[in-house]
């Protein structure tokens, strides 16, 4: 049996280099086809009628006018009379028509009577919530004792509201029945393999008859694991009309019903001893993620304060149900913890960098990495030179401040299967039913395949995004890169083994004495004895080599658990309340990096998304109607190219990191920005702005309560 490992650093020609993404040219030339772009012969366009009320009972639905319309092929009531609707924009009726415009007309012609019911959408005011579900209190050590012995205590209130996933490509599908029993669905999904069962079950056909295709998808961030009710309805409309049907959510519903990150509010107390060691933590948090409330964020985050107490209350609210949002619960927990700790550092007049370093042993197994990263980050930020105590940086109206934060994540590779083919003509191919969310999955698979075969990346072909390929896990929780890189590596090693056995006699050595390097199969001990790759594969006859690789599997190729730190440098205008990012530094480890360019892009992207939830975006609910007030992209704010400042990313590589194997990266860097930026703003203006996003009105309100003059 061959050995399954990654090449040593001096034998990595492709892995770890800055390699441009293999599908980059298609994307930048508009040639990459997304689900939204799919057009099939005879395809109809579907639209849904959203409910205008946050809570209501459907009394009657009159679809007659819609059905009578020319060009309308099917009208399906999704939630009929008697149904209780629990959030605004929930889908009531779906319509399929010849054109998008006609579908829109038909939706507008539908009449629904509702009995409007009481709703609740404003969970920040816990006392007004009709229902609060407190969880069991969790206690470790002797918190009461720690607070009574404390040299200093700090207390604060922190909160971040619900944010939407706001994928650029909205959720949706194109459903196509190739005959009465066989369904092909083009899906904008994070789970090509996983969707098969969801469609087959709902439509009552064998899973073997369902095919899911997703060649490119325009962002998911945790919100696209499900076929969704509208996906099933899309398939039903297609079955009913015997025509392919496309159903993509419109922007308003996309922002309301297709995923959000739960809110978190918390009151926190911390305690330290005379040396500045953290001794006590006490938090009460609450939040909502829709009608079923929300789970508890892991508080305190990363720092295992020896004496701690935490209680979380779940608050049901009439908003679209939450979905996993990049690093579920971590950004909120990180925000609450790192801001509370920074407030403590300010209370005892200590530089937070020193305070974090002093308490770094509380971070557990990754303490050394955190310390190394904090010191490196401090250098890159010029922390010691630039940092000033709160509110003392800047004489004019513009104040400057620094903030930091740290985070963790698992990121172990998911289950994945890969088929690797070596064709007699020398072409090589990997097939995996995975998906590329823009993270670079295709590029990673190509890099691993090319490295293993000693070929150039452009010489290999990667086929993903089709459930007919070997099953692979959903892309969530930073599990994809570990899953597909290791299944591909094992499959490629297995395939190469077969090829080496085939050509060994011709080179007059045992297969173990051969290696695949630089387009050649050569004898390790005398590199001048070789066959070119093509000469070697030419000996295969008519059939290609087909070999499988899986994860988990033999050998150590992956690991789990990362540390990361981030620092922010901001300017805040205390007259306007506007915060500007000057610079952010992110130091991140993720084990062995397969492609440096796309890995760094993940971190730049996460910083940008972090700046977004720290400064710009949030769902603004109208307490009176229970609707989302900013249900379009003009008012659901995302940052633009001028809002990100200077972003510095450093990936930890080399000894201590590479030998751990591959670890996922999508989640970790999006966790810290909110905390780091909030801390920088507090440092700049001398007072904590308790909420994210740090909009100008909130900054001014906090200043009014006391801050930089």
């Amino acid at each position: 049996m061959p050995e399954f490992n990654w090449p040593e650093s001096d034998r990595r020609w492709r892995i770890g280099k800055h390699r441009t993404r293999v599908d980059g040219p298609d994307k930048s030339c508009g040639a990459a086809e997304f689900t939204y772009d799919v057009k099939l012969f005879g395809m109809l366009y579907a639209r849904m009628l959203p409910c205008p009320h946050a809570r209501a009972r459907v009394i009657s639905v009159d679809t007659s006018a819609a059905e009578a319309m020319k060009g309308v092929h099917a009208v399906r009531v999704i939630q009929g009379p008697g149904t209780e609707i629990k959030w605004a924009a929930d889908d009531i009726v779906a319509v399929a028509a010849e054109t998008e415009e006609i579908a829109g007309d038909a939706v507008n012609a539908i009449k629904v009577d509702y009995e409007v019911l009481e709703h609740f959408v404003f969970e920040e005011h816990l006392d007004k919530a009709p229902e609060v579900n407190p969880a069991q209190e969790q206690t470790t050590g002797e918190p009461a004792q720690a607070f009574s012995d404390a040299k200093a205590q700090s207390e604060g209130y922190y909160g971040c509201g619900v944010v939407s996933h706001a994928c650029h490509e909205s959720h949706g599908h194109v459903a196509h029945w190739t005959d009465e029993e066989h369904l092909t669905v083009f899906s904008s999904t994070q789970a090509v393999t996983g969707l098969v069962g969801q469609f087959s079950e709902a439509l009552e056909i064998p899973a073997a008859n369902v095919r899911i295709i997703c060649q490119n998808m325009g962002g998911g961030f945790g919100s696209k694991f499900s076929a969704d009710r509208w996906g099933i309805e899309c398939a039903r409309l297609a079955r009913q009309t015997k025509r392919p049907v496309k159903l993509m959510l419109e922007r308003g519903p996309e922002l309301q019903i297709a995923g959000g990150r739960p809110s978190t509010f918390a009151r926190v107390k911390t305690a330290v001893d005379a040396d500045g060691n953290l001794t006590g933590w006490d938090s009460k948090s609450w939040g909502t993620g829709g009608p079923s409330g929300t789970g508890s964020p892991p508080l305190p985050y990363v720092f295992e304060v020896p004496n701690r107490k935490h209680q979380h209350s779940s608050v049901p609210a009439n908003i679209g149900p939450s979905r996993a949002w990049r690093a579920p619960n971590h950004p909120q927990a990180c925000f609450v913890t790192m801001t509370a700790l920074e407030d403590m550092a300010a209370t005892i007049e200590m530089d937070p960098l020193d305070f974090f370093l002093k308490n770094i042993s509380l971070t557990g197994v990754r303490a050394e990495s955190y310390a190394e990263e904090l010191k490196l980050g401090a250098q890159m930020m010029g922390w010691k030179r630039k940092w000033k105590p709160r509110g003392q940086n800047g004489d004019g109206p513009v104040k400057r401040g620094l903030g930091l934060s740290l985070h963790t994540w698992g990121g172990r590779g998911h289950q994945s299967n890969c088929e690797v083919l070596i064709h007699p003509d020398g072409s090589a191919e990997a097939r995996v039913a995975s998906q590329d969310l823009g993270t670079g999955t295709r590029t990673v698979i190509a890099t691993v395949l090319a490295e293993t075969f000693g070929l150039r990346v452009r010489d290999v072909t990667v086929r993903i995004g089709d459930s007919r390929f070997p099953a692979s896990g959903a892309s969530g929780g930073s599990t994809t890169v570990g899953g597909v890189s290791s299944s591909t590596r094992r499959g490629a090693i297995n395939a190469l083994e077969i090829l080496l056995q085939k050509v060994a006699p011709e080179l007059g050595v045992a297969p173990e004495e051969l290696e695949a390097v630089r387009g050649r199969i050569r004898v390790k001990a005398s590199p001048n004895r070789y066959l070119t790759w093509k000469q070697a594969t030419g000996q295969l006859g008519v059939n290609p080599i087909s070999a499988a690789g899986s994860n988990p599997g033999p050998g150590k190729l992956i690991d789990s658990g990362v540390a990361g730190i981030q620092m922010a440098d901001v300017s805040v205008d205390i007259e306007t309340g506007i915060t500007k990012i000057n610079k952010m530094v992110a130091i991140q480890d993720c084990g062995l990096i397969i492609d440096m360019l796309t890995a760094k892009s993940q971190v730049y992207g996460a910083l940008t998304m972090g700046i977004s939830y720290a400064l710009c975006e949030e769902r603004i609910m109208d307490p009176v109607t229970g609707r989302l007030l900013n249900d379009d992209m003009e008012f659901y704010k995302l940052p633009g190219i001028g809002d990100i400042g200077d972003l510095i990313v450093h990936m930890m590589t080399g000894p201590g990191y590479d030998e751990r194997g591959v670890i996922g990266l999508g989640e970790p860097p999006v966790i810290s920005p909110g905390a780091a930026i909030s801390n920088a703003v507090a440092n700049a203006i001398g007072v904590r702005v308790p909420y994210l996003p740090l909009t100008p009105d909130r900054v001014l309100e906090a200043l009014e309560k006391g801050g930089a003059a």
Binding site: R21, K27, T99, E101, H168, R251, G252, G605
Partner: protein, 207 residues
């Protein structure tokens, strides 16, 4: 509810988009536009409410199609002509994913009617270059990884091309101001900034 509900532009409480897109009565949505653009008084051509035949010049090729007058240029390109580089994201002139060039100027195709574009030269990302023969800005996008999911990319590429035409030697500040009309959810702005600077440094869009 999700259809345009924000009064804008004409102060009548009916937005331009409502006027065009949400009216169910075709006659109301009839636009009064001459073949060459906005009508001069006295010589008006009335389109609709039924589908009308128009001709669009897309990436150098004349293409005939039949659309209702209320159909946007973006929907006509995507749904009728299979030109899917321009994407629909906000559908409300906010995000720039649908950016195309119309007679050399960047426009949001979601906020222009197809009939308004009749006779005009429309260029999309597909028209700037192809994967085998990329335009310098497309190449720079690839080299600087100025794209992740790639959904905002074709619109951004077109916006960058036109920005560089106006600003052959841009500063970072110019970029921040000039490219503020396009949004990216994946967070590729740093790469885009570098792609634009690199293209300029290497001799610009004609290099």
């Amino acid at each position: 509810m999700p259809e345009g509900k924000r009064p804008e532009e004409n102060g009548s409480g009916i937005s331009r988009r409502d006027f065009f897109k949400t009216s169910t009565a075709g006659a109301v949505s009839t636009a009064l536009i001459s073949k060459q653009g906005m009508a001069a008084p006295g010589e008006v051509t009335k389109f609709g409410p039924d589908p009308v035949k128009i001709k669009l010049i897309v990436n150098g090729k004349g293409r005939g199609l039949k659309v209702e007058p209320r159909v946007t240029l973006l929907d006509a390109l995507r749904n009728e002509l299979d030109v899917t580089g321009p994407k629909k994201v906000c559908d409300r002139a906010t995000c720039g994913a649908c950016t195309v060039l119309m007679d050399g100027k960047p426009v949001y195709a979601c906020s222009i009617l197809a009939i308004e574009a009749e006779g005009k030269q429309i260029v999309t990302a597909e028209g700037l270059g192809s994967p085998d023969k990329m335009h310098p800005i497309q190449k720079a996008f690839v080299e600087n990884d100025a794209q992740q999911c790639g959904f905002c990319t074709p619109g951004f590429v077109v916006a960058c091309q036109s920005f560089l035409e106006e600003n052959p030697n841009p500063s970072v500040k110019d970029i921040e101001e000039g490219l503020g009309g396009n949004l990216c959810r994946c967070g590729t702005y740093k790469g885009i900034r570098e792609a634009v600077l690199e293209t300029a440094a290497k001799g610009g869009i004609d290099a």
